[in-house]
């Protein structure tokens, strides 16, 4: 049985002005095994983040969803708040696209990483703090010990993003959804972060959903890729095939829009 099975998932928002509903995710189905990495690429606004939030049971209150999401054999759609709470953290974790929205501005970053370890991980304060510090070093936050007591607004964009990554990694979830996890990181730190994620997939059989606009990132980490366009799933297949022999117009446009540099590298390998 798959770790994650999404079936016929549709997410709609009701318009404020009229009674019409707009579907932002339309009848999407896919599944994911433990130890597998699924890349998701797609147009801006195509529903990638909404799909992730739905899996985490974190959709905004005005969203409606139908279909089914089974995570570790348990149904997420319509589950009670308490059941969802139990799933989050241990079973599924998420790196949010916009780090600031998920960080508490009034709490030091160290305390925020340690908080989950205390509440859900059952660690003592001291152990949680030590573990949080180790995580900060792992995600390459410089001067982690001194940065422990910094507030989010005292950090650079990429440093905040790494705090978000540390929070998600803290509980060692079985499924990790990484929504644009490296947009604020330079390519050297990005490489380290992707290495950490790849290692968790390989050694702890974590399942990873990696959402990115960077086809290079997708190509290096995900063996399988799903392409979304305006709420529809356009393709789901081996990354090589999706990028080399795109089936949909949108994927072709995507590849045509690659910066010269990346296209050279895509074509460079072609015989």
């Amino acid at each position: 049985m798959s770790l994650l099975a999404v079936n016929n998932l549709t997410i709609t928002f009701r318009n404020r002005r009229s009674t019409a509903e707009t579907a932002v995710v339309k009848a999407v189905s896919f599944s994911l095994e433990a130890g597998e990495t699924l890349g998701i690429v797609g147009e801006s606004g195509s529903g990638k983040s909404m799909l992730s939030l739905a899996i985490m049971g974190l959709l905004p209150g005005d969203a409606r969803l139908s279909g089914s999401i089974r995570l570790g054999g348990q149904e997420v759609v319509g589950a009670s708040d308490r059941a969802l709470d139990a799933l989050r953290g241990r079973e599924a974790g998420m790196i949010f696209q916009e780090p600031m929205t998920a960080l508490n501005p009034a709490m030091t970053v160290g305390a925020q990483i340690a908080e989950g370890l205390c509440l859900r991980g059952g660690l003592s304060r001291a152990d949680a703090n030590a573990e949080a510090l180790a995580l900060m070093e792992q995600v390459r936050l410089p001067e982690a010990r001194r940065r422990f007591a910094s507030y989010p607004h005292e950090m650079s964009g990429g440093q905040r993003q790494r705090v978000g990554i540390a929070i998600a990694l803290a509980l060692k979830p079985r499924l990790l959804i990484a929504d644009e996890p490296t947009t604020a990181l330079d390519v050297t730190v990005q490489k380290d972060i992707l290495d950490i994620l790849d290692e968790l997939v390989r050694e702890r059989a974590m399942a990873l959903i990696l959402i990115s606009h960077d086809l290079g990132v997708i190509a290096r980490s995900a063996a399988r890729t799903l392409v979304m366009y305006r709420g529809d799933m356009m393709e789901d297949g081996p990354t090589v095939q999706v990028l080399r022999q795109p089936q949909s117009d949108y994927t072709r446009q995507l590849i045509a829009a690659l910066p010269r540099r990346s296209r050279r590298s895509l074509e460079g390998a072609a015989p």
Binding site: P60, T101, A102, N104, P105
Partner: protein, 283 residues
């Protein structure tokens, strides 16, 4: 639709209960402007100290006091005074306090520190003390109670809004407003206050509960609304002499005060849960 409402009720029990209680009190208070069961000032010695419904409907739903006045009617009219004093004093505290708080947040240096000291000074004046002093100056009465409670609320609101405003000011949209050439006053009015409004509203509800309690305390001491206007605090004070003979005389205003305080506290609690940013993310 129905299911959505049930869910909302389940998620917001405190808020729903708070709303029911406070709205009923406000409705009863307003109703007293047009209609009361019996006149709250008319004495009837024959009925004095009669318990609830002791002589049928003529002794009133909640009984009669030591002058034979109808307690239910007195409570209704008293609610009006309680609410007036509470609303007016919280309005004073919220307006001046918020103005001080957002100014202190906008000018963290000297001005902020000076405002902080001023706050501490006001905070050192509990409402009972300032009511006695003000009462000596201008005589006891509704205005005295409002001013005494209102000044005490200023630092409460100043602290809450200063903290909230500092957080809002750390956000990039304040920088974006500065890029649009906006000055501190415009930024405060356009960006800071709307974004801390929800916190102010929560505080208003909580402080209304405080104000009702304090107003009752002041009139208990004879520093509030003067007789013959009925007031919850004075009803409680009057009941002391008859505590054994007519316990309903103490119970009725006591419960009314407790219920009002509970209602506004639940409302504040429920509202703050509703707008807590961390709960919002977790939905």
């Amino acid at each position: 639709m129905r299911a959505g409402m049930m869910r909302w009720l389940r998620d917001n029990k405190a808020l729903a209960a708070g709303l029911v209680i406070t709205v009923s009190i406000v409705v009863l208070a307003l109703l007293s402007l047009f209609w009361v069961p019996m006149s709250p000032t008319k004495m009837n010695i024959a009925q004095k100290l009669k318990g609830p419904l002791e002589n049928g409907f003529s002794s009133g739903l909640l009984g009669k006091d030591h002058f034979g006045r109808d307690i239910a009617s007195m409570l209704m009219v008293g609610a009006r005074y309680s609410l007036t004093v509470a609303l007016a004093s919280v309005a004073i505290g919220a307006m001046i306090g918020t103005a001080l708080g957002v100014t202190a947040a906008a000018r963290p240096g000297f001005t902020g520190a000076a405002l902080g000291r001023l706050n501490d000074a006001i905070f050192a004046l509990p409402p009972i003390l300032s009511a006695i002093m003000l009462g000596a100056l201008m005589g006891p009465g509704t205005t005295t109670a409002i001013l005494a409670i209102g000044t005490f609320m200023i630092p409460v609101f100043a602290r809450v809004t200063r903290g909230a405003a500092m957080q809002v000011r750390a956000r990039d949209y304040i920088l974006a407003a500065r890029m649009a050439g906006e000055g501190e006053v415009t930024i405060t009015l356009l960006h800071v206050i709307p974004n801390i409004a929800s916190q102010i509203i929560v505080q208003v509800a909580i402080q209304l509960a405080m104000a009702i309690l304090t107003e009752a305390g002041l009139s208990f001491l004879g520093l509030g609304t003067p007789p013959p206007a009925p007031s919850w605090g004075r009803m409680l004070a009057d009941s002391q002499t008859y505590l054994l003979k007519a316990p309903h005389m103490a119970l009725a205003p006591g419960l009314a005060i407790a219920l009002a305080v509970l209602g506004f506290n639940l409302l504040g609690d429920g509202l703050s849960r509703l707008i807590d940013p961390r709960r919002r993310i977790e939905r």
